[in-house]
């Protein structure tokens, strides 16, 4: 199979990456090259094979519902592009 330019644009939108027409065109060629490599998987019959999500069959560890971290809001917000009154600022989303 091969991707279409429209699909590349759609995926870029899903991924929230602005992409120019020229970039989409380049990406199309590259992604089709990569997918021709990936297509080799389709020839394999994997019926009945349990998908492996993880290297080790681990049970998700739970912890007690207790405070374990100290409040370091200032240190963490010091690296943010824009904050005010302890909040992260983003462009207005609700009119």
């Amino acid at each position: 199979m091969s991707l279409t330019l429209e699909q590349v644009r759609h995926v870029a939108k899903l991924a929230r990456i602005e992409i120019s027409d020229a970039e989409a065109q380049t990406a199309l060629g590259e992604l089709n090259g990569i997918f021709s490599l990936i297509e080799a998987m389709q020839a394999v019959d994997t019926q009945g094979v349990e998908p492996m999500a993880h290297a080790l069959d681990l049970a998700q560890r739970l912890r007690a519902d207790r405070v374990s971290e100290v409040d370091r809001r200032e240190a963490f917000q010091a690296v943010a592009p824009e904050t005010a009154a302890g909040l992260y600022l983003v462009p207005k989303v609700i009119e």
């Binding site: 394999v44 994997t46 492996m52 592009p81 989303v93």
Partner: protein, 494 residues
């Protein structure tokens, strides 16, 4: 001094032959002189490094004597280190100064090691040549027209050029082993879950694993002793008793130290037709290393890993899928780059990410978003996970016949800068021997096994789950009998 092993450096420090400040100064001077030829380090902070060294000397003065106390190490710039700029090789994090320490950094600090600086890497660890770094390509100290491998290319170049006694790396599809092979070093990717991923910027979380890069198996074992260990902050950290990874590294050298060891040689690497997939000179060095292992008493058996040929396709579904999810955190809100101009929130996200990420990272995010999108999930992501199971099952079957699997680390020696940069598929295929190990979650090493046309060739050793100590022993016995790991690059105008 710069040729000393970590153990010898520790002895020198203990005997007060030199202080940690003097040792650190020696390396900082070498870095200042030689790094411009290599671009191995992206961030240096001599004042911070020397303050750590002075603190280590003060601890020693009070009678402390931990194995890494006062030893300077280079840290891959994927590890968050408090107060240090931590870029992950990306414009997105160009000005990010971490407010916290990765567990690996915390453990080295507690052990008294000195952070010499942060090493260059492929952007977000996505690459096999170090050419995708926002901060420029790293040069291989064996031939500065060639790549050091990637993604831990800065760490590899730094250690090979003796700009650091040892370094850290991370390995998602071969990023410790391949640069170790291309720069003539010893590198170890532990079993998934052995080293905490906390504070290690995520690429593909079910595959990412940190490990040591050094000049010998012995040095790697010492580093792993500090790096490994259970961490409640990493949800996939494995809870098991602490191990001394140096425990099988004997100093004595009996005639047949590896008598009884069974080495599996996969048909997929060593079969008559399959050998053609590897550079002939590299394959010849690998064959010689296998012969040396037989001389040390090991037996070889043929094994088969039939699903291995599907490891690259499966990896380029699974790793980008996980990456597309992990990298969604870079949205210009909490840290990192934010586009200076935008119209609304969506536009801010899209412009921030278009500006902040380089071409390879975007490519992988697009692949990942596509394979996870509606209608394609089963055909790609689910199928890749099933193939992942087949690959892991192959290894499980093979390890019934043998103790360790060997083969080449990389299908060739260091390639020229620019040679594969324009063709992602060619670049991806350079990890053909290493990727299956990550998919299965097994430990793997690369050790130098000679020179092919003047450039280092690497032998890959693959162990069973949690078999790091044995792997290190097997590597150490070879290094006792040979001196390929002591070869030193000569391309630098020193």
């Amino acid at each position: 001094m710069i040729e000393k092993s970590l153990k010898e450096l520790a002895q020198g420090l203990a005997a007060r032959e030199f202080s940690s400040v003097e040792l650190t100064q020696t390396y900082l001077e070498r870095i200042a002189r030689l790094n411009p030829q290599l671009n191995a380090f992206v961030t240096l902070d001599a004042a911070k490094s020397l303050a750590q060294a002075a603190a280590a000397d003060a601890r020693r003065a009070t009678g402390e004597a931990a194995p890494l106390l006062g030893i300077p190490l280079a840290q891959k710039d994927i590890f968050c280190a408090q107060g240090w700029r931590t870029t992950c090789g990306s414009h997105m994090l160009e000005n990010f100064v971490s407010p916290y320490d990765a567990t690996v950094i915390e453990r080295f600090d507690a052990a008294g090691a000195v952070n010499l600086g942060k090493t260059n890497m492929d952007e977000f660890a996505m690459g096999s040549s170090n050419e995708t770094s926002y901060f420029g390509a790293v040069k291989n100290p064996w031939d500065t027209a060639r790549v050091p491998g990637g993604s831990s290319g800065g760490s590899a170049a730094a250690v090979a050029a003796r700009l650091a006694p040892a370094a850290t790396g991370t390995d998602t599809g071969g990023s410790i082993r391949q640069p170790a092979a291309l720069c003539g070093l010893t590198g170890l990717k532990p079993t998934y879950g052995v080293v905490s991923r906390w504070g290690m910027i995520a690429f593909a979380s079910s595959l990412d694993q940190a490990g040591p890069m050094a000049r010998s198996a012995e040095d790697c074992a010492l580093l792993l002793n500090t790096m490994a260990g259970f961490d409640t902050r990493d949800s996939t950290s494995v809870e098991r008793p602490a191990e001394d990874y140096t425990r099988l590294l004997a100093d004595d050298a009996p005639a047949k130290p590896l008598a009884g060891l069974k080495i599996g040689l996969p048909r997929e690497f060593f079969g008559e037709a399959e050998r053609a997939g590897c550079d002939a000179a590299v394959m010849a060095r690998v064959d010689e290393a296998i012969a040396a292992y037989r001389a040390l008493g090991a037996e070889t058996v043929e094994v088969s890993l039939p699903a291995m040929q599907l490891s690259v396709p499966a990896y380029y579904v699974i790793a980008p899928a996980e990456a597309s999810s992990n990298l969604s955190r870079f949205d210009g809100v909490r840290y990192g780059h934010r586009a200076p101009e935008y119209t609304d929130l969506d536009d801010m996200y899209a412009k921030t990410r278009a500006q902040g990420f380089g071409a390879e990272v975007k490519r992988r995010i697009l692949i990942g978003s596509y394979v996870l999108s509606h209608g394609y999930y089963d055909a790609y992501y689910r199928q890749a996970q099933r193939i992942r199971r087949l690959i892991a099952d192959d290894f499980a079957r093979a390890f019934k016949e043998c103790d360790v699997i060997m083969g080449p680390t990389s299908p060739g020696t260091a390639f020229r800068i620019g040679e594969k940069a324009a063709d992602p598929v060619q670049m991806y295929l350079s990890d053909i021997y290493t990727i299956a190990v990550n998919l299965a979650g097994l430990p793997g090493m690369s050790i130098p096994c000679g020179l092919a046309d003047g450039l280092p060739a690497g032998l890959q050793l693959i162990g069973n789950y949690f078999g790091e100590a044995r792997l290190l022993e097997v590597a150490h016995r070879y290094q006792q009998a040979t001196d390929w790991h002591r070869q030193r690059p000569t391309a630098l105008a020193d």
